[in-house]
Structure formats: structure tokens, C-alpha cells
């Protein structure tokens, strides 16, 4: 169970706690009783107190002005000792609220390991200022976590009790009525296995059955928005940017319906679509088809942005990376390929399994990818650096469907069983040893999705839809400007306009979404070279060393030449040293690392 400790834990320091234990609570403005009267007063000895009062005011001011400094040694930012005012009243919570370094780290955007340019340049001073501001903002953002109202859910067994043994009925019995109402089963045996999708704010649910049944509802209030039968096989269903639009991949073409069930568009350029993904910030609907094409449809203007041939046969496994909007496709040869609309070739190809890939899921931080294959393996990959598996386990049946929750829980649908694994906190991979929860359904799983901002896992199966309770799955505090489950119609309209105004163009999709804020070193160097070529000389080149004239006869020609020679020699030595170091590095790189030395190695040289 991962319950993140409340950031910036506002537990008073130990000394204060002692104080509250022994004495009855006292208002901060009340006069502190003297040591003799209070008997065992835990306050500091009087002598020291007097010293503090005698101290001039100035250093205190310095103290407060540097309140945003984070020192690495203490884990918490120490607030200055309580200070006395003129009236003798004491503020027990003097200074800014304490912030823990880990929380600040979460909000930090600048990579401090990078070396700054030469100390005298203007750029450096600008960067130093920017860094200080950045630090201040991250501390402020971390401090604002105090204002978050909701706490994440959790499920803990009594000592020795396995949480995986806890049944849904037990949970439903234990929780409050409002939460219990979130567990429900829709018995829809007639129209066969269902795919489902929650809207981005987790308020609405759309599902489509293989035999043509399509419905959308506000699942919290259980109010049905529309229910239709499209009289055609439904492969996948997906909400577009808001709950008012619904994309349905039908047997032949892609259709778009509104929340009344009225067909708005039939997109014939996307045919035989098997899977749909919607990229909300780019307004792109990515479709994977039986013909092997990955097509990006811009839903804001209705144009096909890119149609990429994956050259790997029928595509039936697709997911998006919510961190960088890269599409992950699983192929029958065991590889997962990563795609962006700007490139005709995959960005990365990862060989994940020995058989075909059955399911892929990426977590919300974009760090981990879970895959399952025909070899009955379930693997978690690291996406940020190496694309190497972090953990793997064999499942008796193999997972056909995978889903990550907002807080990093991994759900897998295996036959008619759903297993959920949890990790330690949000950014850590789920540990695959012990499942966190399991549940058996009345039919085979056909679609899985965690509901955003609610502790609920929606499962579509051959017997209908099941809404499972998974405590601790969702992010407890939503951001009202980003996706608000309680938004009104006006707010939604306002948000829609704003979102369309800042639609990110499809060309900006790449593996690192922060790359846009970095310095483009390559083109900078190119421009420099071109400028030098155009001017006929390099304007930034260092002028050759010219010895300064010295007085009292030490400026003879011989000594000038000597000094010049000295500097030249030094530079020459530096150059040689650098080139030697480079050679050494090259040799080390060329050596095969980790491989066992072979007997044939002696013939290489």
C-alpha cells in the first residue's frame, strides 16, 4: 500500500509537542509564564532567552529574506526559533511553513547538474537569476500542497491478512454509501464483450459492445446520455476532448457521435479501425487499423495529419504515453514501437516478448511501460532512459489487457480475472510479486480502464460492465482548470475555447516534451559556423595572446618573447593533454563492457 506521507508534515517540532502534553493549551499571544511558576517549563533557560532579546534586529531580517534557501543537510527547512514581539507575545509558528526537500524536488524544473557558462557572461548571470526564481517557485508550489483538501484512499489488511483476499463485497460493506454506490455491475449479456472509456475528468462513461450496442452515461449519477445500436460490430470507443463527442470504431469506418447519439461524421479515410486513442492536448485521434496503418486525425479541423505505415501487419495493440503523447504499438513479432506523427519511422523499437505483444500500458508520469505477451510474461519497462525491463513475471494465463491508474497501480485482465498490483508511491514501478487486489468477473475481460479522479476500475467483459472499487487508485486532488469533474456547462465551454487556443501542433510530439525549452546546440553551432564563413573570420575567436608592456626595463624584446612563448607552450600542452584524454575515452568505449572475455579476443589486435 502506498500512502504518501503528507508533504511538509506540519507536525510541530518535538519540543512543542512535549509542551502541549504537559500544559493546557495556551493562546500564542498570552504571556508565557515564568520558569518558577510553571515548574517544569520546557522552554529554553532564561539566560539564553535574554541573550536572544539583546541581539540586534538586523540578522533576523536576513534570516527571513533567505527563507527559500534549501540546505541539503537537514531534511526539513527549519523555521527560525519563536521570536518575541514588543508585547512579549510569542509566535509558536514563526517563520515560513516548513517544506520537505523531496516535495520541492517534485516541482523543480531546472536541471542543476548542468554546467553554467563562463562566469563573466551575461547569459550566466541571467541563468543564475532564473535558477533562483525557479527555486523560489518550486518551494512555493511545494508549500501550497498544504492547501490540498483530499487524501488518497488506501486498503490495509490486518497483520498478516493479504489484501488480495479481500473481496469487492467486503469493501463495499466497509465504505460509505457514496463510495459503495460506485460499485455496480451492468448485466448486458446480449451484445457481447464490451469496450469502455471514461471521459478525461472521470465523470462520464461510454461503452460499446461487439454486437453494436453503444451507450454513454454520467456514471456517478447513473444518468443515461444516449443509447443506440449502430447495427455493426464495434471495435473500440473513445471520448474526444469533452464528453459531448464520441468516436466509435465500427466494422467498416470510424464514426463520430454526439452525446445524443446523433451521428455527426463518418470518417471514411479511417477504415477497419481496431483501436482508438485520443491525444487531448493535440486534439488528435490516433487510429490503428487492420491494414497496418496508424492514422492521426486532427479532430479540431477534421484533417488527417499523418498516416503512417507500421509495416507490421494487423495492428490491434495500441496505447498512448500521456507524458509525451507518443503512441505505442504492440506487434505480433514481440516488439513495441513508439510513433510520433512527425516521423515516418518509429522513434524507438523495443523487443519485449518472445511471442506477440498482447497488451501495452504506460503510466501517467511516462516513466514505466507495462507489456504482456503471448509468452505469458508481464514486464515493466523503464521508458525514460534505457528501455530496459525493470521487473517481469510469468502469469499462468498471460494478461490480455493492461491499465495504469493515476497513482501508478497496474491492472491486468486475465481471462475472467482482474489482478491489480501496487508500487511504492506515484513514480515507482508496481511490484509484481503480490497482487494488491483480485476480482473474478462473470465474463472474459475485453476492456479495462481506471476512472480518473475516482477510486474505480471499469472493466468491460463479455457479461457487461463492472465498476470495481480500488482504494488508492486515483489522484485525490484535481486541478479545476485542467479537468474538473464538477464543472458546469459554462465552465466546460470556457475550457473548450481555452484548450483549442493552446492546441499543441502535431509536429511537436517527441520523446522529450521539455526539449522545446532547451538550447538547440546543433543549429546554434551551425549558425556560428555559417556566420564565420560569411564574415570571412570568426568574430568570437580569442585574440592571440599579446604580452602587456611592463615598466622599469622589464619590457625588453627578449622578455616579451619569453612570456609569449610561455603562454603558447602552456596552450600546446593543454591541447595535447585533451587529445590524449579523448583517445583514452575512445579506447574504453570500444572495449566490450560486461561480455565475457573470449579466447578469440587475442586475435583481434
Amino acid at each position: 500500500m502506498e500512502t504518501v506521507p503528507e508533504p511538509g508534515s506540519n507536525v510541530p517540532p518535538k519540543k512543542d509537542r512535549l509542551q502541549t502534553k504537559k500544559k493546557k493549551p495556551r493562546r500564542y499571544w498570552e504571556q508565557e509564564t515564568t520558569g518558577t511558576a510553571a515548574g517544569a517549563s520546557p522552554g529554553p533557560p532564561r539566560k539564553r532567552k535574554r541573550n536572544r532579546e539583546l541581539r540586534p534586529q538586523k540578522p533576523k531580517k536576513n534570516d527571513t529574506s533567505k527563507k527559500f534557501r534549501i540546505s541539503k543537510k537537514p531534511r526539513e527547512l527549519k523555521s527560525p526559533r519563536p521570536q518575541r514581539s514588543l508585547s512579549g507575545a510569542q509566535d509558536p509558528f514563526a517563520g515560513p511553513a516548513p517544506v520537505s526537500v523531496e516535495v520541492v524536488q517534485k516541482y523543480c524544473r531546472i536541471d542543476k547538474s548542468k554546467e553554467l557558462p563562463h562566469p563573466k557572461t551575461k547569459t550566466r548571470s541571467r541563468l543564475v537569476v532564473a535558477e533562483a526564481q525557479e527555486e523560489e517557485t518550486s518551494v512555493r508550489a511545494a508549500r501550497s500542497e498544504l492547501l490540498l483538501t483530499e487524501e488518497p484512499g488506501f486498503l490495509e489488511g490486518e497483520d498478516g491478512e493479504d489484501t488480495a483476499k479481500i473481496r469487492q463485497a467486503d469493501i463495499v460493506e466497509a465504505v460509505d454509501i457514496a463510495s459503495a454506490a460506485k460499485h455496480f455491475d451492468l448485466n448486458l449479456r446480449q451484445f457481447g464483450p464490451y469496450r469502455l472509456n471514461y471521459s478525461r475528468n472521470g465523470r462520464h462513461l461510454a461503452f460499446g459492445g461487439r454486437r453494436g450496442h453503444v451507450a454513454a452515461l454520467d456514471w456517478v449519477t447513473k444518468k443515461l446520455m444516449c443509447e443506440i445500436n449502430v447495427m455493426e460490430a464495434v471495435r473500440d470507443i473513445r471520448f474526444l476532448h469533452s464528453e459531448a463527442l464520441l468516436a466509435v470504431a465500427q466494422n467498416r469506418w470510424l464514426h463520430i457521435y454526439d452525446n445524443q447519439g446523433i451521428e455527426l461524421h463518418c470518417v471514411r479515410r479511417c477504415d477497419r479501425v481496431t483501436r482508438l486513442e485520443f491525444l487531448p492536448f493535440h486534439f488528435l485521434l490516433a487510429t490503428a487499423s487492420e491494414t497496418g496503418f496508424l492514422t492521426y486525425l486532427d479532430v479540431s479541423v477534421g484533417k488527417i495529419v499523418a498516416a503512417l505505415n507500421a509495416r507490421a501487419g494487423r495492428l490491434s495493440v495500441m496505447t498512448q504515453n500521456p507524458y509525451n503523447a507518443v503512441i505505442h504499438l504492440g506487434h505480433s513479432n514481440g516488439t513495441v514501437s513508439l510513433w510520433s506523427p512527425a516521423m515516418k519511422e518509429p522513434l524507438v523499437k523495443i523487443l519485449c516478448h518472445r511471442g506477440g505483444v498482447r497488451a501495452v500500458a504506460v503510466d501517467s508520469t511516462g516513466m514505466h511501460m507495462a507489456t504482456s505477451g503471448l509468452d505469458h510474461q508481464l514486464k515493466v519497462f523503464d521508458l525514460r532512459g534505457t528501455f530496459q525491463p525493470l521487473s517481469a513475471r510469468t502469469l499462468p494465463q498471460g494478461a490480455g489487457h493492461l491499465a495504469f491508474s493515476q497513482r501508478g497501480l497496474l491492472a491486468a485482465g486475465m481471462g475472467d480475472v482482474v489482478n491489480i498490483w501496487a508500487g511504492q508511491g506515484k513514480a515507482s514501478p508496481p511490484s509484481l510479486e503480490q497482487p494488491y487486489l483480485t476480482h473474478r468477473l462473470s465474463g472474459h475481460v475485453h476492456g479495462l480502464q481506471f476512472c480518473p479522479y475516482e477510486d474505480v476500475l471499469g472493466v468491460g467483459h463479455s457479461g457487461g460492465i463492472t465498476s470495481m472499487l480500488v482504494p488508492g487508485a486515483a489522484e485525490p486532488n484535481f486541478d479545476g482548470l485542467e479537468s474538473n469533474p464538477y464543472r458546469s456547462r459554462k465552465q466546460r465551454q470556457e475550457w473548450e475555447v481555452k484548450a483549442l487556443l493552446e492546441k499543441v501542433p502535431a509536429e511537436l510530439i517527441c520523446l522529450d516534451p521539455r526539449a522545446l525549452a532547451e538550447v538547440d546546440v546543433i543549429s546554434l553551432e551551425q549558425a556560428k559556423k555559417e556566420r564565420a564563413e560569411r564574415l570571412g573570420y570568426d568574430p568570437d575567436a580569442r585574440a592571440p595572446f599579446q604580452p602587456k608592456p611592463k615598466q622599469k626595463g622589464r619590457s625588453s624584446t627578449a622578455s616579451l618573447v619569453k612570456r609569449k612563448r610561455k603562454v603558447m607552450d602552456q596552450e600546446h600542452r593543454d591541447k595535447i593533454r585533451q587529445s590524449l584524454e579523448q583517445q583514452l575515452q575512445k579506447q574504453e568505449k570500444a572495449k566490450p563492457t560486461g561480455a565475457r572475455p573470449s579466447a578469440l579476443d587475442r586475435f583481434v589486435h
Binding site: Y107, G153, E158, I166, E475, Q491, K503, A517
Partner: protein
């Protein structure tokens, strides 16, 4: 078994009545705000486009003069009052809020060469082609009184410029020499010359108030200390300087408007190289004035345009022109740093916004927050090629545009020639001279 489910009370998230504001809980967790950089980039792009859409800098044209406007002056005590002198000897006082002329004086015969206000704002001085210096009251004559100067000084030679001391009752005029006058006397306290030539403008330093700068038609800029009888030092440039202006925030920095289409910002302590050469005009620069913040200045040129330069940049950030505006002779930046006035040949004074896309009037706090945010974004992404292209784009009249092209070709040719000369001479015998050093001929102390 211990279990807690996420269960929100809708009352905490929905407003109580329709009259309330909507509740918007915030969570600044970066995972809830993906694509931070691309979205900010798009916002910056939109903000840059909107800036160009809303760039409507022209506010008003004040007409009433019957000849070209030759000089302008601000009133140090009143933002709304502006004085202007014309080529027919007429001085007009304008009210900017009403955009009307409130007083007209026939001050001189021939040109009004210079005009300046006293630091207290109660009177002003004019010099003209009729070899007189006149002091006038700022307030008009009361009923029945005649329009008469407070004092008139008859000089021997023509005065071409005047400036008042920033704190004391002392003013300086220039003509064939620089004269320093006490307001109470009819003869100068001292007069300083360095060679014989006509001096076109003289300016007091607003911080180090004893210092003066002047520029003469023998291509030099001369600096004086009022406490000494002789000039301090001078720098000789390639071509004649028309006016100088001191930086109101940095005591030793001044900018000179030169005939060779450039402006030079000098550090008074090291005159041998200018701090910055500002190039963009395509004809002689006639006047220059600093913004009260000391970060930017505006220049008026014979090429019928005015440009705004940041002090530390060699290229202008803004160019203003209209179809009807002819050669701009004088320019002033108002004391609230929001507006620019320019007087031109075709008898009009024009009022411009200093920041072309700024919204005038009172801003609500949300508007202010939005503009601040957009400003920061534009600053953050200013070097991205797409954004840079949009924010730099200006429409220019055909004459200026073609002149720029022509001068680019000429400059390229000169550079090529220089390169060839270096290439074909003994290595080291011909050196590349930087743009900054090229234009300074000599410094004399």
C-alpha cells in the same frame, strides 16, 4: 481490514448559489499538467501574434502650427502640458488630455531654435533666429494683459539651442560658443569655446548637474564642467552629430544622434569607443530623447520615421511612421514613459504610444495578470525562430524598405572589399576594425 475510499463531498466543489463564483480547486502537481513547455510555447506564440494584432501606436495628431515644428519641450511639473516652437517663430502650448492648443505666442522673428522649461515648471525660455533669449511665464496673461516675455536678453550672435540647469537658476545657450547664464543677469557668467564652429545643441546632465554636453558642426562632441572655465574633453566622430541626450538614470552615459544614420551611446569616462552603435535609420538622425527609465530611447530621423532603441541593443525594437509624416525634426519621451511625441516638417505634432500594443486606461487585476503572464512567456520563448519572426516583423514604407536593401548591398560591398584587402596584403598588416571603433576619429582632452 482498514479501507478508505476517495469520496468527495460535491458541496465543497460546487458553488452554493448562482450568485457565487465557481469554485476552482488547484493542484500544481506537474503530472496533472502535462506538456507544460509545448503549451507555454503555443501561448507565447498566441501572445506574440496578438501583440502584433493590437499594435496601434498612433494616438493623435496635434495640428495648428503654420510652419514646421522645430523644437519640443516637456513641462516637468505637468504631464499634460507640452510646448512646441515652430519655424515661423510661433510657440504653442498644448494640453495633451484635451489634445488642444491652449496658448499661442509669437515669440521670435524667424525660427524658434530652442525651447526649454525651468525645473519648477513656472516659466520657459526660448531662443530664436533674432539673436534673443526670452523667458516666458507658463500661465497665460490675465485678462487685459498683453502677451509679453518676463525677460528678454539681446545677444550678439544667433543662438541655436538652450537648456536649463536641473536644480539651479542657471541656463546654457549655444551658438558660436557655449554661454552659461544666470537668470538674473543679462550677460553670461562664462562662455566656453573650443575652436570656432557653430554648436547645434547643448544639454545639461540631469544627475551630475554641473556637466554639460554639446555637439558642434565640426563633427565633435564636447563635454564641459560648469565649475571650470574650460571644456573637459571632446570626441571627434566621422560625421556631424545633431543632438545628444544624457541618460537620466546613468550619469555618465549619453547618446549622440549622428548624420551618418547611426546613433552612438558613449560612456563619458571612455570616449574612444562607443558603448553601442545603434543602426537602423536610413537617413540622418535629427533628435534623440531618453525614456525616464533610462532603458530605452527614441530617435527621430530625416527618413520620415521614428525608432525606439533599447540602450544595450544595436537594432531598434520599434519603428513608427505614417503616410503623412514628413521629416521628423524633434522627438520627446513623456515623463510617465508611456507616450512619445514627435514634431515634423509638415506642421504637426504626433502622439504615439511608447509600447505599441499596450492597452490604455485602467486595467482590471485579471487583465494585468494576463498581460504580465504573456509578457513573461514572450520573454521566455523570444529566441524561437517562429516567434522571433512574428515579433520582429514591421511594415515599412517602400522608400525606407528599398533604402534598407540598398544600404545592405553597399555595406556588403564595403566589407567584401575590406576582406579582399586583408586577403591580398601581408598577413597582419591590415587589421579588421570593429564597427564600434570605426567611427571615432579622435579623443582630445
Amino acid at each position: 481490514m482498514k479501507v478508505k475510499m476517495l469520496s468527495r463531498n460535491p458541496d465543497h466543489y460546487v458553488r452554493e448559489t448562482k450568485l457565487d463564483l465557481q469554485r476552482v480547486p488547484r493542484n500544481y502537481d506537474p503530472t496533472l499538467h502535462p506538456f507544460e513547455v509545448p503549451r507555454e510555447y503555443i501561448r507565447a506564440l498566441n501572445a506574440t501574434k496578438l501583440e502584433r494584432v493590437f499594435a496601434k501606436p498612433f494616438l493623435a495628431s496635434l495640428d495648428g502650427h503654420r510652419d514646421g515644428v522645430n523644437c519640443l519641450a516637456k513641462n516637468p511639473k505637468s504631464l499634460a502640458t507640452v510646448l512646441s516652437g515652430a519655424c515661423d517663430g510661433e510657440v504653442k502650448i498644448w494640453n495633451l488630455t484635451k489634445r488642444k492648443c491652449i496658448r499661442t505666442i509669437q515669440a521670435h522673428e524667424g525660427f524658434v531654435r530652442g525651447i526649454c522649461t525651468r525645473f519648477c515648471g513656472t516659466s520657459f525660455f526660448t531662443v530664436g533666429d533674432d539673436k534673443t533669449v526670452k523667458q516666458w511665464k507658463m500661465d497665460g496673461p490675465s485678462c487685459g494683459e498683453e502677451e509679453e516675455p518676463l525677460h528678454t536678453i539681446l545677444g550678439k550672435t544667433v543662438y541655436t539651442g538652450i537648456d536649463h540647469h536641473w536644480r539651479e537658476a542657471v541656463f546654457a545657450t549655444c551658438g558660436q560658443q557655449v554661454d552659461i547664464w544666470d537668470e538674473q543677469r543679462t550677460s553670461p557668467i562664462c562662455s566656453m569655446t573650443w575652436g570656432f564652429d557653430s554648436i547645434s545643441s547643448v544639454k545639461f546632465n540631469p544627475i551630475e548637474t554641473f556637466l554639460l554636453g554639446s555637439c558642434a558642426s565640426d563633427r565633435n562632441i564636447v563635454l564641459y564642467d560648469m565649475r571650470q572655465a574650460t571644456p573637459l574633453k571632446k570626441v571627434i566622430l566621422d560625421m556631424r552629430t545633431n543632438t545628444i541626450c544624457w541618460n537620466p538614470m546613468e550619469a555618465f552615459i549619453f547618446t549622440a544622434a549622428n548624420e551618418d544614420y547611426n546613433l552612438y551611446t558613449f560612456d563619458m569616462r571612455a570616449l574612444d569607443t562607443p558603448v553601442m552603435v545603434h543602426m537602423d535609420h536610413v537617413s540622418a538622425v535629427l533628435d534623440v530623447d531618453y525614456s525616464p527609465t533610462g532603458r530605452e530611447f527614441v530617435s527621430a530621423s530625416f527618413d520620415k520615421s521614428i525608432r525606439i532603441f533599447p540602450v544595450d541593443k544595436s537594432r531598434s525594437r520599434e519603428v513608427y511612421h505614417t503616410k503623412r509624416m514628413q521629416h521628423v525634426i524633434c522627438v520627446k519621451w513623456t515623463a510617465d514613459s508611456k507616450y512619445i511625441m514627435c514634431g515634423s516638417d509638415e506642421m504637426n505634432i504626433r502622439l504615439w504610444k511608447a509600447n505599441a500594443s499596450e492597452k490604455l486606461g485602467v486595467l482590471t487585476s485579471r487583465e494585468r495578470a494576463a498581460t504580465d503572464y504573456n509578457q513573461k512567456l514572450k520573454e521566455k520563448f523570444q529566441h524561437h525562430p517562429h516567434i522571433k519572426r512574428i515579433s520582429r516583423h514591421r511594415h515599412l514604407p517602400k522608400s525606407i524598405y528599398s533604402q534598407i536593401q540598398e544600404q545592405r548591398i553597399m555595406k556588403e560591398a564595403r566589407r567584401r572589399k575590406e576582406l579582399n584587402r586583408i586577403k591580398h596584403s601581408k598577413p597582419g598588416s591590415v587589421q579588421m576594425v570593429s564597427e564600434k571603433k570605426k567611427h571615432v576619429v579622435a579623443v582630445v582632452k
